[in-house]
Protein backbone atom coordinates (compact mmCIF):
# COMPACT_ATOMS: atom_id res chain seq x y z
CA UNK A 1 0.00 0.00 0.00
CA UNK A 2 2.74 2.40 0.98
CA UNK A 3 4.70 1.63 -2.14
CA UNK A 4 1.60 2.28 -4.20
CA UNK A 5 1.23 5.76 -2.75
CA UNK A 6 4.91 6.31 -3.27
CA UNK A 7 4.86 5.13 -6.85
CA UNK A 8 1.99 7.50 -7.49
CA UNK A 9 3.99 10.36 -6.08
CA UNK A 10 6.78 9.79 -8.55
CA UNK A 11 4.60 9.50 -11.63
CA UNK A 12 5.77 11.24 -14.81
CA UNK A 13 3.21 13.96 -14.07
CA UNK A 14 4.57 14.87 -10.68
CA UNK A 15 8.07 14.74 -12.06
CA UNK A 16 7.07 17.04 -14.89
CA UNK A 17 5.41 19.44 -12.48
CA UNK A 18 8.43 19.45 -10.23
CA UNK A 19 10.70 20.10 -13.20
CA UNK A 20 8.58 22.98 -14.48
CA UNK A 21 8.36 24.54 -11.02
CA UNK A 22 12.09 24.16 -10.59
CA UNK A 23 12.78 25.93 -13.86
CA UNK A 24 10.35 28.67 -12.87
CA UNK A 25 12.21 29.06 -9.62
CA UNK A 26 15.55 29.31 -11.41
CA UNK A 27 14.11 31.93 -13.77
CA UNK A 28 12.45 33.78 -10.94
CA UNK A 29 13.80 33.19 -7.44
CA UNK A 30 10.71 34.59 -5.75
CA UNK A 31 8.54 31.97 -7.36
CA UNK A 32 7.83 30.03 -4.19
CA UNK A 33 7.26 33.10 -1.99
CA UNK A 34 3.81 33.17 -0.51
CA UNK A 35 2.52 35.92 1.68
CA UNK A 36 -0.65 36.66 3.56
CA UNK A 37 -2.19 39.97 2.63
CA UNK A 38 -5.70 41.36 3.14
CA UNK A 39 -6.97 38.01 4.37
CA UNK A 40 -5.76 36.02 1.42
CA UNK A 41 -2.70 34.28 0.11
CA UNK A 42 -0.52 35.88 -2.53
CA UNK A 43 2.28 34.52 -4.61
CA UNK A 44 3.18 33.04 -7.94
CA UNK A 45 2.22 29.56 -6.81
CA UNK A 46 -1.23 30.83 -5.91
CA UNK A 47 -1.39 32.49 -9.33
CA UNK A 48 -0.60 29.20 -10.97
CA UNK A 49 -3.48 27.56 -9.15
CA UNK A 50 -5.82 30.48 -9.70
CA UNK A 51 -5.09 30.86 -13.41
CA UNK A 52 -5.07 27.13 -13.87
CA UNK A 53 -8.50 26.75 -12.27
CA UNK A 54 -10.65 27.31 -15.38
CA UNK A 55 -8.69 24.78 -17.43
CA UNK A 56 -8.68 22.42 -14.45
CA UNK A 57 -12.46 22.67 -14.26
CA UNK A 58 -12.77 22.08 -17.99
CA UNK A 59 -10.40 19.16 -17.61
CA UNK A 60 -12.63 17.58 -14.96
CA UNK A 61 -15.53 17.41 -17.39
CA UNK A 62 -13.28 16.60 -20.31
CA UNK A 63 -11.80 13.65 -18.41
CA UNK A 64 -15.20 12.05 -18.11
CA UNK A 65 -15.88 12.62 -21.80
CA UNK A 66 -12.52 11.30 -22.90
CA UNK A 67 -12.92 8.27 -20.63
CA UNK A 68 -15.93 7.33 -22.78
CA UNK A 69 -13.68 7.55 -25.85
CA UNK A 70 -15.13 10.92 -26.78
CA UNK A 71 -13.89 14.47 -26.86
CA UNK A 72 -15.62 17.80 -26.42
CA UNK A 73 -14.35 20.63 -28.59
CA UNK A 74 -17.18 22.93 -27.60
CA UNK A 75 -16.15 23.74 -24.03
CA UNK A 76 -14.45 27.02 -24.94
CA UNK A 77 -17.55 28.24 -26.73
CA UNK A 78 -19.78 27.04 -23.89
CA UNK A 79 -17.67 29.09 -21.49
CA UNK A 80 -18.36 32.12 -23.65
CA UNK A 81 -22.09 31.38 -23.71
CA UNK A 82 -22.28 30.96 -19.93
CA UNK A 83 -20.30 34.12 -19.27
CA UNK A 84 -22.37 36.07 -21.75
CA UNK A 85 -25.61 34.79 -20.27
CA UNK A 86 -24.70 35.60 -16.70
CA UNK A 87 -23.29 39.04 -17.52
CA UNK A 88 -26.15 40.07 -19.75
CA UNK A 89 -28.71 38.97 -17.19
CA UNK A 90 -27.22 40.80 -14.23
CA UNK A 91 -26.81 43.88 -16.38
CA UNK A 92 -30.48 43.59 -17.30
CA UNK A 93 -31.28 43.66 -13.61
CA UNK A 94 -31.82 40.00 -12.79
CA UNK A 95 -30.62 38.84 -9.40
CA UNK A 96 -27.23 37.18 -9.50
CA UNK A 97 -28.40 33.76 -8.40
CA UNK A 98 -30.92 33.63 -11.22
CA UNK A 99 -28.27 34.68 -13.69
CA UNK A 100 -25.88 32.02 -12.39
CA UNK A 101 -28.58 29.39 -12.54
CA UNK A 102 -29.53 30.29 -16.09
CA UNK A 103 -25.88 30.31 -17.16
CA UNK A 104 -25.43 26.85 -15.68
CA UNK A 105 -28.57 25.73 -17.44
CA UNK A 106 -27.17 27.05 -20.69
CA UNK A 107 -24.08 24.91 -20.13
CA UNK A 108 -26.21 21.87 -19.34
CA UNK A 109 -28.25 22.49 -22.47
CA UNK A 110 -25.15 22.66 -24.65
CA UNK A 111 -23.91 19.47 -23.06
CA UNK A 112 -27.23 17.81 -23.66
CA UNK A 113 -27.12 18.82 -27.29
CA UNK A 114 -23.64 17.32 -27.66
CA UNK A 115 -24.73 14.21 -25.81
CA UNK A 116 -27.74 13.72 -28.05
CA UNK A 117 -25.58 14.02 -31.15
CA UNK A 118 -23.02 11.58 -29.82
CA UNK A 119 -25.17 9.07 -27.98
CA UNK A 120 -28.40 9.04 -29.91
CA UNK A 121 -27.44 10.14 -33.40
CA UNK A 122 -24.13 8.31 -33.17
CA UNK A 123 -22.14 11.17 -34.67
CA UNK A 124 -18.41 11.12 -34.04
CA UNK A 125 -17.64 13.28 -31.00
CA UNK A 126 -15.10 15.56 -32.67
CA UNK A 127 -17.52 16.53 -35.37
CA UNK A 128 -20.58 16.54 -33.14
CA UNK A 129 -19.01 18.99 -30.73
CA UNK A 130 -17.47 21.03 -33.54
CA UNK A 131 -20.96 22.32 -34.23
CA UNK A 132 -21.20 24.18 -30.93
CA UNK A 133 -17.53 25.08 -31.08
CA UNK A 134 -18.31 27.07 -34.20
CA UNK A 135 -21.87 28.20 -33.58
CA UNK A 136 -21.60 28.60 -29.81
CA UNK A 137 -19.30 31.54 -29.94
CA UNK A 138 -21.72 33.14 -32.34
CA UNK A 139 -24.54 32.50 -29.89
CA UNK A 140 -22.49 34.08 -27.11
CA UNK A 141 -21.90 37.14 -29.25
CA UNK A 142 -25.53 37.22 -30.16
CA UNK A 143 -26.31 37.41 -26.45
CA UNK A 144 -23.84 40.23 -25.84
CA UNK A 145 -24.58 41.80 -29.23
CA UNK A 146 -20.91 41.71 -30.02
CA UNK A 147 -19.69 43.99 -27.29
CA UNK A 148 -17.92 43.22 -24.05
CA UNK A 149 -20.58 43.32 -21.36
CA UNK A 150 -19.03 44.83 -18.26
CA UNK A 151 -20.82 44.29 -14.97
CA UNK A 152 -20.39 45.19 -11.34
CA UNK A 153 -22.51 42.53 -9.71
CA UNK A 154 -20.66 41.51 -6.54
CA UNK A 155 -21.73 37.87 -6.62
CA UNK A 156 -20.46 37.26 -10.13
CA UNK A 157 -17.28 39.15 -9.36
CA UNK A 158 -16.86 37.10 -6.21
CA UNK A 159 -16.96 33.91 -8.26
CA UNK A 160 -14.04 35.14 -10.30
CA UNK A 161 -11.98 37.08 -7.80
CA UNK A 162 -13.25 36.46 -4.29
CA UNK A 163 -11.50 34.35 -1.75
CA UNK A 164 -12.42 31.74 0.80
CA UNK A 165 -10.15 30.68 3.66
CA UNK A 166 -7.44 32.74 2.03
CA UNK A 167 -7.65 30.93 -1.27
CA UNK A 168 -8.95 32.47 -4.49
CA UNK A 169 -12.49 31.41 -5.30
CA UNK A 170 -11.58 29.78 -8.61
CA UNK A 171 -9.15 27.54 -6.74
CA UNK A 172 -11.76 26.74 -4.13
CA UNK A 173 -14.34 25.97 -6.80
CA UNK A 174 -11.98 23.84 -8.86
CA UNK A 175 -10.78 21.92 -5.82
CA UNK A 176 -14.31 21.35 -4.56
CA UNK A 177 -15.47 20.22 -7.96
CA UNK A 178 -12.49 17.92 -8.34
CA UNK A 179 -13.08 16.33 -4.96
CA UNK A 180 -16.83 16.03 -5.45
CA UNK A 181 -16.44 14.62 -8.93
CA UNK A 182 -13.86 12.14 -7.72
CA UNK A 183 -16.09 11.07 -4.87
CA UNK A 184 -19.03 10.85 -7.23
CA UNK A 185 -17.27 8.58 -9.68
CA UNK A 186 -15.32 6.50 -7.18
CA UNK A 187 -17.83 6.12 -4.36
CA UNK A 188 -20.56 5.19 -6.77
CA UNK A 189 -20.39 2.84 -9.70
CA UNK A 190 -20.23 5.70 -12.19
CA UNK A 191 -16.48 5.58 -12.60
CA UNK A 192 -16.46 1.92 -13.44
CA UNK A 193 -19.45 2.21 -15.74
CA UNK A 194 -17.94 5.16 -17.60
CA UNK A 195 -14.72 3.23 -18.05
CA UNK A 196 -16.66 0.24 -19.27
CA UNK A 197 -18.46 2.32 -21.88
CA UNK A 198 -15.15 3.83 -22.96
CA UNK A 199 -13.40 0.50 -23.24
CA UNK A 200 -16.15 -1.23 -25.18
CA UNK A 201 -19.44 0.48 -25.79
CA UNK A 202 -20.99 -2.53 -27.41
CA UNK A 203 -20.05 -4.85 -24.56
CA UNK A 204 -21.39 -2.27 -22.14
CA UNK A 205 -24.76 -2.44 -23.82
CA UNK A 206 -24.75 -6.22 -23.69
CA UNK A 207 -23.86 -6.11 -20.00
CA UNK A 208 -26.99 -4.12 -19.29
CA UNK A 209 -25.36 -0.74 -18.80
CA UNK A 210 -27.46 2.14 -20.08
CA UNK A 211 -24.58 3.33 -22.20
CA UNK A 212 -26.54 6.04 -23.98
CA UNK A 213 -27.86 7.60 -20.81
CA UNK A 214 -24.36 7.51 -19.38
CA UNK A 215 -22.95 9.20 -22.47
CA UNK A 216 -25.60 11.87 -22.28
CA UNK A 217 -24.80 12.43 -18.63
CA UNK A 218 -21.11 12.73 -19.30
CA UNK A 219 -21.53 15.40 -21.97
CA UNK A 220 -24.03 17.24 -19.82
CA UNK A 221 -21.54 17.19 -16.97
CA UNK A 222 -18.84 18.50 -19.27
CA UNK A 223 -21.12 21.34 -20.35
CA UNK A 224 -21.82 22.08 -16.72
CA UNK A 225 -18.12 22.30 -15.93
CA UNK A 226 -17.58 24.56 -18.92
CA UNK A 227 -20.33 26.87 -17.72
CA UNK A 228 -18.69 27.17 -14.31
CA UNK A 229 -15.35 27.91 -15.94
CA UNK A 230 -17.06 30.48 -18.13
CA UNK A 231 -18.50 32.33 -15.15
CA UNK A 232 -15.15 32.32 -13.41
CA UNK A 233 -13.45 33.83 -16.42
CA UNK A 234 -16.18 36.45 -16.76
CA UNK A 235 -16.14 37.23 -13.04
CA UNK A 236 -12.39 37.54 -13.17
CA UNK A 237 -12.44 40.41 -15.66
CA UNK A 238 -15.84 41.69 -14.59
CA UNK A 239 -17.06 41.35 -18.10
CA UNK A 240 -18.21 38.86 -20.69
CA UNK A 241 -15.91 38.91 -23.67
CA UNK A 242 -17.83 36.60 -25.96
CA UNK A 243 -15.21 36.64 -28.65
CA UNK A 244 -12.24 35.73 -26.51
CA UNK A 245 -13.53 33.96 -23.42
CA UNK A 246 -12.29 30.39 -23.46
CA UNK A 247 -10.78 30.79 -26.92
CA UNK A 248 -8.72 27.64 -27.70
CA UNK A 249 -9.08 26.46 -24.10
CA UNK A 250 -10.58 23.19 -25.34
CA UNK A 251 -7.12 22.29 -26.57
CA UNK A 252 -5.57 23.09 -23.20
CA UNK A 253 -8.22 21.01 -21.46
CA UNK A 254 -7.63 18.02 -23.72
CA UNK A 255 -3.92 18.44 -23.26
CA UNK A 256 -4.36 18.52 -19.48
CA UNK A 257 -6.30 15.27 -19.58
CA UNK A 258 -3.70 13.58 -21.75
CA UNK A 259 -0.83 14.86 -19.62
CA UNK A 260 -2.77 13.46 -16.68
CA UNK A 261 -2.44 10.05 -18.24
CA UNK A 262 -6.00 9.39 -19.44
CA UNK A 263 -5.89 7.84 -22.88
CA UNK A 264 -7.72 9.47 -25.76
CA UNK A 265 -8.82 5.94 -26.60
CA UNK A 266 -11.05 5.87 -23.55
CA UNK A 267 -11.13 3.68 -20.48
CA UNK A 268 -9.18 4.24 -17.29
CA UNK A 269 -9.24 7.81 -16.09
CA UNK A 270 -8.20 9.93 -13.18
CA UNK A 271 -9.79 13.29 -12.51
CA UNK A 272 -7.14 14.34 -10.03
CA UNK A 273 -4.36 13.59 -12.48
CA UNK A 274 -6.10 15.69 -15.12
CA UNK A 275 -6.28 18.54 -12.66
CA UNK A 276 -2.59 18.04 -12.07
CA UNK A 277 -2.16 18.21 -15.85
CA UNK A 278 -3.93 21.56 -15.90
CA UNK A 279 -1.65 22.82 -13.15
CA UNK A 280 1.40 21.72 -15.13
CA UNK A 281 0.18 23.61 -18.19
CA UNK A 282 -0.45 26.73 -16.15
CA UNK A 283 2.88 26.45 -14.35
CA UNK A 284 4.45 26.42 -17.77
CA UNK A 285 2.44 29.47 -18.90
CA UNK A 286 3.28 31.34 -15.74
CA UNK A 287 6.91 30.37 -16.16
CA UNK A 288 6.88 31.88 -19.61
CA UNK A 289 5.37 35.06 -18.15
CA UNK A 290 7.95 35.51 -15.43
CA UNK A 291 10.88 34.36 -17.54
CA UNK A 292 11.09 37.57 -19.52
CA UNK A 293 11.61 35.79 -22.84
CA UNK A 294 10.27 37.76 -25.77
CA UNK A 295 6.69 36.63 -26.43
CA UNK A 296 7.66 35.29 -29.84
CA UNK A 297 9.17 32.33 -27.99
CA UNK A 298 6.04 31.43 -26.00
CA UNK A 299 4.78 28.72 -28.29
CA UNK A 300 8.18 27.21 -28.92
CA UNK A 301 8.78 26.87 -25.19
CA UNK A 302 5.31 25.43 -24.71
CA UNK A 303 5.78 22.80 -27.38
CA UNK A 304 9.17 21.92 -25.97
CA UNK A 305 7.70 21.24 -22.55
CA UNK A 306 4.85 19.18 -24.00
CA UNK A 307 7.24 17.09 -26.04
CA UNK A 308 9.33 16.51 -22.95
CA UNK A 309 6.34 15.34 -20.94
CA UNK A 310 5.21 13.05 -23.74
CA UNK A 311 8.64 11.53 -24.00
CA UNK A 312 8.68 10.97 -20.24
CA UNK A 313 5.29 9.26 -20.40
CA UNK A 314 5.87 7.16 -23.48
CA UNK A 315 6.40 3.40 -23.26
CA UNK A 316 9.63 4.02 -25.14
CA UNK A 317 11.13 5.93 -22.25
CA UNK A 318 9.78 3.37 -19.82
CA UNK A 319 11.83 0.76 -21.61
CA UNK A 320 14.82 3.06 -21.82
CA UNK A 321 14.82 4.23 -18.25
CA UNK A 322 13.38 1.35 -16.33
CA UNK A 323 15.12 -1.26 -18.46
CA UNK A 324 11.98 -3.35 -18.60
CA UNK A 325 12.28 -6.15 -21.13
CA UNK A 326 11.51 -4.74 -24.51
CA UNK A 327 8.29 -6.37 -25.56
CA UNK A 328 7.04 -5.86 -29.03
CA UNK A 329 3.40 -5.08 -28.66
CA UNK A 330 2.42 -5.12 -32.28
CA UNK A 331 -0.63 -7.25 -31.77
CA UNK A 332 -1.82 -6.03 -28.46
CA UNK A 333 -2.17 -2.37 -29.28
Amino acid sequence: MKTRVLSRLISPQTMALAAVLLVNWILFPGFFDIEWKDGRLFGSLIDVLNRGAPVAILAIGMTAVIATKGVDLSVGAVMAIAGATAATMVEAGWPAHTAVAVALLAGLACGLWNGVLVALLDIQPIIATLVIMVAGRGIAQLITEGSIVTFSDPTLIFIGTGSFLGLPMPVVIAATLAVLATLLVRRTALGLLVEAVGVNRSAARYAGISANVLLLAVYVFCGFCAAIAGMIVAGDIRGADANNAGLWLELDAILAVVIGGTSLLGGRFSILMSVLGAVIIQAMNTGILVSGFPPEFNLVVKSGVIILILVLQSPLSATLFLRAPKAKTGASK
Binding site: F28, G30, K37, D38, F42, G43, S44, D47, R51, Q141, E145, G146, S147, I148, T150, T161, V233, D236, I237, R238, G239, D241, N243, N244, A245, T286, L289, V290, G292, P294, P295, E296, N298
Partner: protein, 300 residues
Protein backbone atom coordinates in the same frame (compact mmCIF):
# COMPACT_ATOMS: atom_id res chain seq x y z
CA UNK B 1 -27.78 62.04 -54.79
CA UNK B 2 -24.96 61.19 -52.44
CA UNK B 3 -24.38 57.51 -52.02
CA UNK B 4 -28.06 56.67 -51.86
CA UNK B 5 -28.67 53.16 -53.17
CA UNK B 6 -25.03 52.41 -53.77
CA UNK B 7 -23.84 48.93 -52.86
CA UNK B 8 -20.69 48.89 -50.77
CA UNK B 9 -18.95 45.76 -49.56
CA UNK B 10 -17.20 45.89 -46.19
CA UNK B 11 -14.67 43.26 -45.27
CA UNK B 12 -14.16 43.47 -41.53
CA UNK B 13 -11.40 41.60 -39.68
CA UNK B 14 -13.58 40.12 -37.00
CA UNK B 15 -14.90 41.13 -33.62
CA UNK B 16 -11.90 40.51 -31.43
CA UNK B 17 -12.06 43.66 -29.32
CA UNK B 18 -14.53 46.16 -27.99
CA UNK B 19 -13.10 48.74 -30.29
CA UNK B 20 -13.53 46.59 -33.36
CA UNK B 21 -17.17 45.92 -32.47
CA UNK B 22 -17.68 49.65 -32.25
CA UNK B 23 -16.06 50.23 -35.62
CA UNK B 24 -18.43 47.71 -37.17
CA UNK B 25 -21.50 49.25 -35.65
CA UNK B 26 -20.44 52.79 -36.51
CA UNK B 27 -19.79 51.75 -40.10
CA UNK B 28 -23.24 50.22 -40.35
CA UNK B 29 -24.72 53.34 -38.82
CA UNK B 30 -22.91 55.61 -41.26
CA UNK B 31 -24.03 53.50 -44.19
CA UNK B 32 -27.59 53.57 -43.02
CA UNK B 33 -27.56 57.35 -42.68
CA UNK B 34 -26.43 57.68 -46.27
CA UNK B 35 -28.81 55.09 -47.64
CA UNK B 36 -25.98 52.78 -48.63
CA UNK B 37 -26.65 49.08 -49.08
CA UNK B 38 -23.78 47.73 -47.00
CA UNK B 39 -22.67 44.16 -47.63
CA UNK B 40 -20.89 43.05 -44.48
CA UNK B 41 -18.45 40.16 -44.31
CA UNK B 42 -16.74 39.10 -41.10
CA UNK B 43 -13.40 37.43 -41.83
CA UNK B 44 -13.02 35.78 -38.42
CA UNK B 45 -9.47 37.13 -38.18
CA UNK B 46 -8.32 35.49 -41.39
CA UNK B 47 -6.73 37.26 -44.31
CA UNK B 48 -7.76 34.50 -46.66
CA UNK B 49 -11.37 35.13 -45.77
CA UNK B 50 -10.90 38.81 -46.46
CA UNK B 51 -9.49 38.08 -49.88
CA UNK B 52 -12.40 35.75 -50.55
CA UNK B 53 -14.81 38.45 -49.46
CA UNK B 54 -13.26 41.05 -51.73
CA UNK B 55 -13.41 38.68 -54.68
CA UNK B 56 -16.96 37.88 -53.80
CA UNK B 57 -17.77 41.57 -53.81
CA UNK B 58 -16.12 41.96 -57.18
CA UNK B 59 -18.12 39.06 -58.57
CA UNK B 60 -21.29 40.72 -57.32
CA UNK B 61 -20.34 43.98 -58.99
CA UNK B 62 -20.54 46.24 -55.94
CA UNK B 63 -19.94 49.97 -56.33
CA UNK B 64 -17.12 50.19 -53.81
CA UNK B 65 -15.29 48.10 -51.26
CA UNK B 66 -14.18 48.92 -47.73
CA UNK B 67 -11.61 46.70 -46.16
CA UNK B 68 -9.97 46.72 -42.75
CA UNK B 69 -6.91 44.65 -43.62
CA UNK B 70 -5.88 42.20 -40.92
CA UNK B 71 -2.24 42.34 -42.04
CA UNK B 72 -0.31 44.73 -44.24
CA UNK B 73 1.08 42.35 -46.80
CA UNK B 74 -0.52 40.23 -49.44
CA UNK B 75 -3.06 42.50 -51.08
CA UNK B 76 -1.56 43.35 -54.46
CA UNK B 77 -3.26 40.67 -56.49
CA UNK B 78 -6.75 41.09 -55.19
CA UNK B 79 -6.59 44.87 -55.23
CA UNK B 80 -5.40 44.69 -58.80
CA UNK B 81 -8.40 42.56 -59.58
CA UNK B 82 -10.73 45.14 -58.07
CA UNK B 83 -9.00 47.83 -60.02
CA UNK B 84 -9.41 45.86 -63.24
CA UNK B 85 -13.10 45.67 -62.45
CA UNK B 86 -13.18 49.43 -61.83
CA UNK B 87 -14.29 49.11 -58.25
CA UNK B 88 -12.73 51.64 -55.86
CA UNK B 89 -11.30 50.21 -52.66
CA UNK B 90 -10.91 52.13 -49.43
CA UNK B 91 -8.76 50.85 -46.60
CA UNK B 92 -10.00 51.30 -43.08
CA UNK B 93 -7.95 51.66 -39.90
CA UNK B 94 -4.91 49.73 -41.04
CA UNK B 95 -2.64 50.23 -44.01
CA UNK B 96 -1.29 47.85 -46.61
CA UNK B 97 2.08 47.26 -48.23
CA UNK B 98 0.81 47.68 -51.74
CA UNK B 99 1.26 50.14 -54.53
CA UNK B 100 -0.75 53.28 -53.77
CA UNK B 101 -2.60 53.29 -57.06
CA UNK B 102 -4.36 50.08 -56.09
CA UNK B 103 -6.69 51.78 -53.63
CA UNK B 104 -8.62 55.01 -53.60
CA UNK B 105 -7.64 56.09 -50.15
CA UNK B 106 -6.80 54.81 -46.72
CA UNK B 107 -8.62 56.09 -43.69
CA UNK B 108 -6.56 55.12 -40.69
CA UNK B 109 -4.83 56.30 -37.65
CA UNK B 110 -1.11 56.49 -37.48
CA UNK B 111 -0.42 53.59 -35.18
CA UNK B 112 3.21 54.52 -34.66
CA UNK B 113 2.04 57.91 -33.64
CA UNK B 114 -0.45 56.42 -31.20
CA UNK B 115 2.42 54.69 -29.47
CA UNK B 116 4.43 57.86 -29.58
CA UNK B 117 1.63 59.94 -28.07
CA UNK B 118 1.28 57.44 -25.26
CA UNK B 119 5.03 57.44 -24.73
CA UNK B 120 5.32 61.19 -24.75
CA UNK B 121 2.54 61.49 -22.21
CA UNK B 122 4.46 59.16 -19.93
CA UNK B 123 7.75 60.97 -20.48
CA UNK B 124 6.11 64.26 -19.53
CA UNK B 125 4.29 62.80 -16.60
CA UNK B 126 7.20 61.14 -14.84
CA UNK B 127 9.71 63.87 -15.56
CA UNK B 128 13.11 62.95 -14.19
CA UNK B 129 11.95 60.23 -11.86
CA UNK B 130 13.15 56.70 -12.53
CA UNK B 131 10.37 54.73 -14.08
CA UNK B 132 10.21 51.03 -14.80
CA UNK B 133 7.57 50.35 -17.41
CA UNK B 134 5.84 47.10 -18.19
CA UNK B 135 4.30 46.66 -21.61
CA UNK B 136 1.28 44.62 -22.63
CA UNK B 137 1.66 43.93 -26.31
CA UNK B 138 -1.10 43.16 -28.72
CA UNK B 139 -1.24 39.88 -30.60
CA UNK B 140 2.28 38.84 -31.55
CA UNK B 141 2.91 39.85 -35.13
CA UNK B 142 -0.16 42.04 -35.60
CA UNK B 143 0.43 45.42 -37.19
CA UNK B 144 -0.92 47.51 -34.33
CA UNK B 145 1.25 45.61 -31.86
CA UNK B 146 4.38 46.17 -33.89
CA UNK B 147 3.68 49.82 -34.65
CA UNK B 148 2.52 50.80 -31.21
CA UNK B 149 5.56 49.21 -29.68
CA UNK B 150 7.76 51.04 -32.11
CA UNK B 151 6.14 54.42 -31.53
CA UNK B 152 6.31 54.09 -27.78
CA UNK B 153 9.95 53.07 -27.87
CA UNK B 154 10.71 56.04 -30.08
CA UNK B 155 9.14 58.39 -27.59
CA UNK B 156 11.08 57.12 -24.59
CA UNK B 157 14.34 56.62 -26.49
CA UNK B 158 17.06 58.68 -24.96
CA UNK B 159 15.29 59.01 -21.66
CA UNK B 160 17.56 56.99 -19.44
CA UNK B 161 15.17 57.14 -16.51
CA UNK B 162 12.46 55.31 -18.46
CA UNK B 163 13.02 51.65 -19.15
CA UNK B 164 10.74 48.90 -20.38
CA UNK B 165 11.37 46.23 -17.78
CA UNK B 166 9.03 43.59 -19.11
CA UNK B 167 7.04 43.10 -22.23
CA UNK B 168 4.68 40.28 -22.97
CA UNK B 169 1.70 39.73 -25.20
CA UNK B 170 -1.77 40.05 -23.75
CA UNK B 171 -3.41 39.19 -27.07
CA UNK B 172 -5.48 42.40 -26.99
CA UNK B 173 -7.82 40.76 -24.47
CA UNK B 174 -8.86 41.63 -20.94
CA UNK B 175 -8.22 38.28 -19.39
CA UNK B 176 -4.78 37.83 -20.87
CA UNK B 177 -4.01 41.42 -19.93
CA UNK B 178 -4.92 40.64 -16.38
CA UNK B 179 -3.02 37.39 -16.23
CA UNK B 180 0.12 38.86 -17.72
CA UNK B 181 -0.03 41.86 -15.41
CA UNK B 182 -0.34 39.54 -12.44
CA UNK B 183 2.84 37.83 -13.54
CA UNK B 184 4.62 41.14 -13.97
CA UNK B 185 3.58 42.25 -10.52
CA UNK B 186 4.96 39.09 -8.95
CA UNK B 187 8.15 39.33 -10.92
CA UNK B 188 8.69 42.99 -10.05
CA UNK B 189 8.71 42.90 -6.30
CA UNK B 190 4.99 42.66 -5.79
CA UNK B 191 4.47 45.52 -8.20
CA UNK B 192 6.33 48.00 -6.05
CA UNK B 193 9.02 48.39 -8.69
CA UNK B 194 6.58 49.10 -11.47
CA UNK B 195 5.93 52.72 -12.19
CA UNK B 196 3.73 52.44 -15.26
CA UNK B 197 1.96 50.01 -17.51
CA UNK B 198 1.63 50.65 -21.21
CA UNK B 199 -1.03 48.56 -22.92
CA UNK B 200 -1.49 48.36 -26.66
CA UNK B 201 -5.21 48.56 -26.20
CA UNK B 202 -7.70 49.55 -23.52
CA UNK B 203 -9.09 46.06 -23.02
CA UNK B 204 -5.75 44.83 -21.78
CA UNK B 205 -5.41 47.95 -19.64
CA UNK B 206 -8.77 47.22 -18.03
CA UNK B 207 -7.53 43.74 -17.19
CA UNK B 208 -4.25 45.11 -15.87
CA UNK B 209 -6.07 47.58 -13.64
CA UNK B 210 -7.88 44.70 -11.97
CA UNK B 211 -4.64 42.82 -11.47
CA UNK B 212 -3.10 45.87 -9.84
CA UNK B 213 -6.06 46.25 -7.51
CA UNK B 214 -5.98 42.56 -6.63
CA UNK B 215 -2.35 42.96 -5.64
CA UNK B 216 -3.36 45.65 -3.17
CA UNK B 217 -1.96 48.53 -5.17
CA UNK B 218 -3.72 51.56 -6.56
CA UNK B 219 -3.90 51.70 -10.34
CA UNK B 220 -3.51 55.25 -11.55
CA UNK B 221 -1.54 56.21 -8.49
CA UNK B 222 0.92 53.48 -7.55
CA UNK B 223 1.14 52.34 -11.12
CA UNK B 224 0.31 54.65 -13.98
CA UNK B 225 -1.89 53.23 -16.71
CA UNK B 226 -1.65 54.39 -20.29
CA UNK B 227 -3.23 52.72 -23.27
CA UNK B 228 -4.81 53.14 -26.68
CA UNK B 229 -8.34 53.03 -28.17
CA UNK B 230 -10.49 55.19 -25.86
CA UNK B 231 -13.26 52.70 -25.24
CA UNK B 232 -15.98 53.54 -22.70
CA UNK B 233 -14.63 51.26 -20.00
CA UNK B 234 -11.31 53.06 -19.86
CA UNK B 235 -13.19 56.31 -19.23
CA UNK B 236 -15.08 54.58 -16.48
CA UNK B 237 -11.71 53.66 -15.01
CA UNK B 238 -10.58 57.25 -15.31
CA UNK B 239 -13.66 58.39 -13.47
CA UNK B 240 -12.64 56.02 -10.71
CA UNK B 241 -9.12 57.40 -10.82
CA UNK B 242 -7.69 54.11 -11.99
CA UNK B 243 -6.50 54.99 -15.47
CA UNK B 244 -4.35 57.91 -16.48
CA UNK B 245 -4.33 58.27 -20.22
CA UNK B 246 -5.65 56.81 -23.42
CA UNK B 247 -5.00 57.66 -27.03
CA UNK B 248 -8.13 57.74 -29.08
CA UNK B 249 -8.54 55.51 -32.06
CA UNK B 250 -11.81 56.66 -33.54
CA UNK B 251 -14.20 53.91 -34.53
CA UNK B 252 -15.62 56.25 -37.11
CA UNK B 253 -13.34 55.43 -40.01
CA UNK B 254 -16.29 54.86 -42.29
CA UNK B 255 -17.57 58.44 -42.08
CA UNK B 256 -14.53 60.00 -43.76
CA UNK B 257 -14.33 57.02 -46.08
CA UNK B 258 -17.89 57.49 -47.32
CA UNK B 259 -17.30 61.23 -47.69
CA UNK B 260 -14.31 60.57 -49.87
CA UNK B 261 -16.21 58.00 -51.85
CA UNK B 262 -19.09 60.37 -52.35
CA UNK B 263 -16.81 63.07 -53.63
CA UNK B 264 -15.08 60.63 -55.92
CA UNK B 265 -18.13 58.95 -57.39
CA UNK B 266 -20.27 62.03 -57.71
CA UNK B 267 -17.71 64.73 -58.30
CA UNK B 268 -14.78 62.82 -59.65
CA UNK B 269 -12.57 64.26 -56.93
CA UNK B 270 -9.69 61.97 -56.17
CA UNK B 271 -9.22 62.11 -52.42
CA UNK B 272 -5.87 62.37 -50.77
CA UNK B 273 -4.20 58.98 -50.38
CA UNK B 274 -3.94 58.93 -46.61
CA UNK B 275 -6.69 60.31 -44.46
CA UNK B 276 -5.13 60.14 -41.03
CA UNK B 277 -7.54 60.25 -38.14
CA UNK B 278 -6.57 62.15 -35.09
CA UNK B 279 -4.68 60.37 -32.32
CA UNK B 280 -6.11 62.39 -29.52
CA UNK B 281 -4.89 61.98 -26.01
CA UNK B 282 -7.48 61.77 -23.24
CA UNK B 283 -6.68 62.12 -19.56
CA UNK B 284 -8.89 62.43 -16.48
CA UNK B 285 -8.86 66.17 -17.18
CA UNK B 286 -10.97 65.63 -20.30
CA UNK B 287 -14.34 64.98 -18.72
CA UNK B 288 -14.15 61.20 -18.70
CA UNK B 289 -17.74 60.84 -17.52
CA UNK B 290 -18.97 62.77 -20.51
CA UNK B 291 -16.81 60.74 -22.86
CA UNK B 292 -18.10 57.58 -21.29
CA UNK B 293 -21.69 58.62 -21.81
CA UNK B 294 -21.29 59.63 -25.45
CA UNK B 295 -19.49 56.42 -26.35
CA UNK B 296 -21.59 54.00 -24.39
CA UNK B 297 -24.17 53.52 -27.11
CA UNK B 298 -21.75 52.95 -29.96
CA UNK B 299 -21.51 49.21 -29.68
CA UNK B 300 -18.16 48.96 -27.91
Amino acid sequence: DGLQGKVVGFSQIGSESGWRAAETSVTKLQAEERGIDLKFADAQQKQENQIKAIRGFIAQGVDAILVAPVVATGWDAVLQEAKDANIPVILLDRGVDASEDLYLTSVASDQVKEGRVAGEWLVNTVGDKDCKIVELQGTVGSTPAINRKQGFEEAIAGKANLTIARSQTGDFTRSKGKEVMEGFIKAENGGKDICAVYAHNDDMAVGAIQAIKDAGLKPGTDILVVSIDAVPDIFAAMVAGEANATVELTPNMAGPAFDALDAYLNGGTVPEKFIITESKLYTPADNPQGEYDTRKGLGY
